[in-house]
C-alpha cells in the first residue's frame, strides 16, 4: 500500500510532530522496559523474598513427650495440649467492655488485668498459662486484637502423689527434673519436625516446598511398677505414719524372680500436678537416696557368712549371756536366753549371739560377705541420685566396729539396697539386677551371692522370725508362709545415738517356700508407745504383702491349720 498515493490517508503533518510523538512513545516504552528490567533483573531477589514471605511458611511440627505407663498399661504421665493466653503489646487494643469481660473469664479483677498488661510495652508476653478449655473458647469468641491463644503441651500425672517419687516430674520447658522423667529424658523427649509450605490466600497449605522433616514423637515407657500394688503400699505406709506419728517412711516391693521394682512409696509425699508450693524435702525419694543404719536387719548376712564357711550349722548352740564385752563396749540383749541356736539368734534377734558369730570371722571375711551382697555399692537401678551407702575398708575396723557391724551399726544402707540384698535369700542365692522398667523374666541374668543351700537355711531361720517366739509375729499373712527380719535401730543425732529416736524396719519375703515378692518397710521416728520394727513396720509389711499376693494370684503355700492367726498373738519382740 502506498500511503502517499491515497488522498485520504495522506498526512499533512509536519515531520517534527511525528518525530516528537515517536520520541515520546519510545521514551514511554523505554521507561516501562527499564522498570521491568529493574524489578525483574536487578531487584528480583528482594522482591521474590517478599513474595515468598507472604506465601511461604516454615511450620514447626510439634512432637510431644512420650507417656509413662505402669506394667499393665495404666497411665502414670502424659503430655496433653493446653491453650495458654499470650498478648502482643503493640497490637493490644481492648474496649472497656472487652477488658471487663476478659477479667471475668480469667477470674481476676480488671485492675489486676491492667497491671498484667502494663508489665511489658513491647513484644509478646504470657498472660495466663494454661487456660482451661472453657476459658479458651470464651477468649477466642471475643476476637480481641492482640490476644493470642497458643497451644502448648502440659504434663499430667493421673496417679498423682501415689507414684510421684518414682515417676518424678518435668519443668516448664518439658525437661525431666526428678525420677524416671529425668533418668529417661532422652527417650521420652520428642524432637520437633519442620516443613516448608506454600500457602494460599486463606492460609491453607497448598504445596510442600522442601522435603518434610518429620517430627519424632517421644517414646513411651513401661515401668516395672504395678499401680495397684503401688497404691496399696502408698496407702498402708501413709496410714502407719499417721498412726505412729512418724516423721517419714518408705516401702519397696521387689519381684524376687526378676529384680523388677513393683512398688516404691515414700512419706512425706508431694503432688506432681500442683507444684506451686515447691519444697524439696517431700520430693526426695528416700528409699533410694537416703541412708540409715540397718540395725538387726543385717543379722541374716552374719548367719550366712558363718554358715557358708562351715563355722556353724543352723542348730549349733551358742552361749549367749545377757551382756558381752568387746573392747570397752558392752553388747546387750533385750530378751536374754542363756543358750541359743543360730536359728534362735536370728528368730529372737540376739545381739550377743550375732556378735559372737561375727567375731569368729576375720574383718576381711565379714566385709567380703557384705560387699558381695551389694553394701557400699550403688544398687544399679539407674535412678538419679541413687546412693551407695557406706561400708568402710576392713583394714580400718577396730574390734568394737567389727562387733557393732554384726548388729548393723557403723554402716549405712538405703532401703532399696537392703531389699536388693535380701533377694539372695529369696532367690536361692542369686541376686537379680534391679530395674524400674518392665522386663521379661528370661532376659535377666542373676549374680550368685550365696550357695542355694546357705540361702535356704537362712530363709528358714527368717521364717522362724514370724513364728511363735520370734520378733516378727505381726508380719504374718494368712494362707502364706512368710520369712523376714525385723530391725529397730537407734538414730544417730549429732554424732550420738539418741536413746528415744528409732528407725523401725522389716524386710521380708513370701511365699517362703518359693519367694516371689520381697517387701522392705522402714518407718522413721515412730513417736508412739511402740517402736519395735516388728510392731511398727511389720503390720505395714503384712498388709502390703497380703494384698500384693492376692493381686498377683499366687497360690497359698501354708496348710490351712497353721495359718489360724488370732487377733492378739502379737508379742512385741526385742531386737535392737
Amino acid at each position: 500500500m502506498n500511503y502517499h498515493s491515497r488522498k485520504l490517508l495522506k498526512l499533512n503533518l509536519a515531520p517534527w510532530r511525528m518525530a516528537t510523538v515517536a520520541a515520546l512513545l519510545l521514551t514511554g516504552f523505554g521507561v516501562v522496559a527499564g522498570r521491568a528490567f529493574y524489578l525483574q533483573g536487578l531487584n528480583t531477589d528482594y522482591l521474590q523474598g517478599k513474595g515468598n514471605a507472604v506465601a511461604n511458611r516454615n511450620l514447626t511440627l510439634p512432637a510431644h513427650r512420650g507417656m509413662v505407663l505402669d506394667r499393665n498399661g495404666q497411665l502414670l504421665a502424659i503430655s496433653t495440649p493446653v491453650e495458654s493466653l499470650w498478648a502482643r503489646a503493640q497490637e493490644l487494643k481492648l474496649s472497656p467492655q472487652q477488658h471487663a469481660q476478659l477479667a471475668k473469664v480469667l477470674d481476676i479483677s480488671p485492675q489486676e488485668l491492667s497491671r498484667q498488661f502494663k508489665r511489658r510495652s513491647r513484644g509478646e508476653f504470657s498472660v495466663r498459662r494454661p487456660v482451661t478449655p472453657e476459658q479458651a473458647v470464651k477468649i477466642a469468641a471475643m476476637g480481641a486484637p492482640g490476644l493470642v491463644l497458643r497451644r502448648e503441651y502440659r504434663r499430667y500425672y493421673p496417679a498423682g502423689e501415689v507414684a510421684a517419687h518414682v515417676v518424678g516430674f518435668t519443668n516448664v520447658d518439658d525437661l525431666g527434673q526428678e525420677g524416671v522423667e529425668r533418668a529417661y529424658q532422652d527417650w521420652l523427649a520428642g524432637r520437633a519436625g519442620e516443613r516448608q509450605v506454600m500457602r494460599d490466600r486463606k492460609g491453607n497449605a497448598i504445596r510442600d516446598l522442601a522435603p518434610i522433616k518429620t517430627a519424632q514423637m517421644g517414646g513411651n515407657l513401661a515401668l516395672s511398677l504395678d499401680l495397684k500394688i503401688q497404691y496399696l503400699a502408698h496407702r498402708e505406709l501413709a496410714a502407719a505414719i499417721d498412726k505412729h506419728k512418724a516423721k517419714g517412711g518408705s516401702v519397696v516391693v521387689l519381684d524376687a524372680k526378676t529384680g523388677e521394682i513393683l512398688a516404691l512409696a515414700n512419706q512425706p509425699h508431694f503432688n506432681p500436678n500442683n507444684r506451686r508450693n515447691y519444697e524439696p524435702g517431700p520430693m526426695r525419694n528416700r528409699a533410694v537416696i537416703d541412708t540409715f543404719e540397718p540395725g538387726s536387719t543385717i543379722k541374716p548376712f552374719v548367719a550366712a557368712a558363718v554358715l557358708e564357711r562351715g563355722l556353724y550349722r543352723p542348730d549349733s548352740v551358742i552361749d549367749t549371756p545377757e551382756t558381752w564385752r568387746v573392747g570397752n563396749k558392752l553388747v546387750r540383749d533385750v530378751h536374754p536366753h542363756p543358750q541359743m541356736t543360730v536359728t534362735e539368734i536370728i528368730q529372737k534377734s540376739s545381739n550377743v549371739g550375732s556378735v559372737k558369730m561375727a567375731m569368729t570371722l576375720s574383718p576381711q571375711q565379714y566385709w567380703e560377705t557384705l560387699h558381695r551382697s551389694g553394701f557400699g555399692q550403688r544398687p544399679g537401678s539407674g535412678f538419679p541420685g541413687e546412693t551407695a551407702g557406706r561400708l568402710r575398708d576392713p583394714a580400718t575396723w577396730r574390734p568394737v566396729e567389727h562387733a557393732t557391724l554384726a548388729y548393723g551399726y557403723g554402716m549405712s544402707v538405703s532401703l532399696l539396697q537392703l531389699a536388693r540384698a535380701y533377694m539372695a535369700f529369696a532367690n536361692d542365692g542369686e541376686v537379680m539386677p534391679l530395674s524400674f522398667l518392665r522386663r521379661e523374666p528370661q532376659e535377666v541374668i542373676g549374680e550368685r551371692v550365696f550357695s542355694p543351700a546357705v540361702a535356704r537355711e537362712v530363709r528358714s531361720m527368717m521364717e522362724a522370725v514370724t513364728q511363735e517366739g520370734g520378733t516378727g509375729t505381726r508380719t504374718r499373712v494368712p494362707g502364706y508362709r512368710v520369712a523376714g527380719k525385723t530391725g529397730t535401730a537407734h538414730k544417730l543425732v549429732d554424732g550420738r545415738y539418741a536413746p528415744d529416736r528409732y528407725l523401725s524396719s522389716f524386710i521380708g519375703m513370701a511365699p517362703a517356700s518359693d519367694p516371689r515378692l520381697i517387701i522392705g518397710v522402714v518407718i522413721d521416728e515412730p513417736s508412739g508407745a511402740v517402736y519395735y520394727g516388728g510392731s511398727v513396720a511389720g503390720p505395714v509389711f503384712a498388709q502390703v504383702m497380703s494384698g500384693s499376693l492376692r493381686q498377683l494370684g499366687l497360690p497359698p503355700d501354708a496348710p490351712e491349720t497353721a495359718t489360724k492367726v488370732t487377733q492378739d498373738s502379737t508379742r512385741a519382740g526385742g531386737g535392737a
Binding site: 507417656m67 502424659i78 496417679a159 498423682g160 501415689v162 504445596r207 499401680l227 496399696l232 496407702r235 497360690p555
Partner: protein, 90 residues
C-alpha cells in the same frame, strides 16, 4: 501438512488441558491430605485427653473409695476363701 499441524495442535491443547486438570487434582488432593493430617492430630490429642480422663477415673484411690463406701465391698476374711487347685493331668 496442514492436517498434521492441526492434529498436533489439538494434541497440544489436549495435553495442556490435562496438565491443568492434573494440577488441580494434585492441589485438591494435597488440601485433602492436609485436612486429614490435621484431623489425625486432633484425634491423637483427643485420644490423649481421653486416656487422661480414663486414668483419672480409674485412679486406684478413687476405685478403692467407691468400692468401700458406695458398693460396700470388703476383702473376704481368710476363713471364707477356699483355694482350688486345678490339675492339668486327669
Amino acid at each position: 501438512m496442514s492436517r498434521i499441524n492441526f492434529i498436533l495442535a489439538m494434541v497440544l491443547i489436549g495435553s495442556a488441558l490435562g496438565l491443568v486438570q492434573s494440577q488441580h487434582q494434585a492441589r485438591s488432593y494435597f488440601v485433602e491430605l492436609e485436612r486429614l493430617k490435621k484431623e489425625a492430630l486432633a484425634l491423637d490429642e483427643q485420644w490423649g485427653k481421653l486416656q487422661l480422663e480414663q486414668g483419672t477415673w480409674a485412679n486406684p484411690a478413687r476405685v478403692d473409695l467407691l468400692a468401700r463406701t458406695q458398693l460396700g465391698l470388703i476383702t473376704p476374711p481368710h476363713e471364707r476363701i477356699r483355694v482350688e487347685t486345678l490339675s492339668d493331668t486327669p
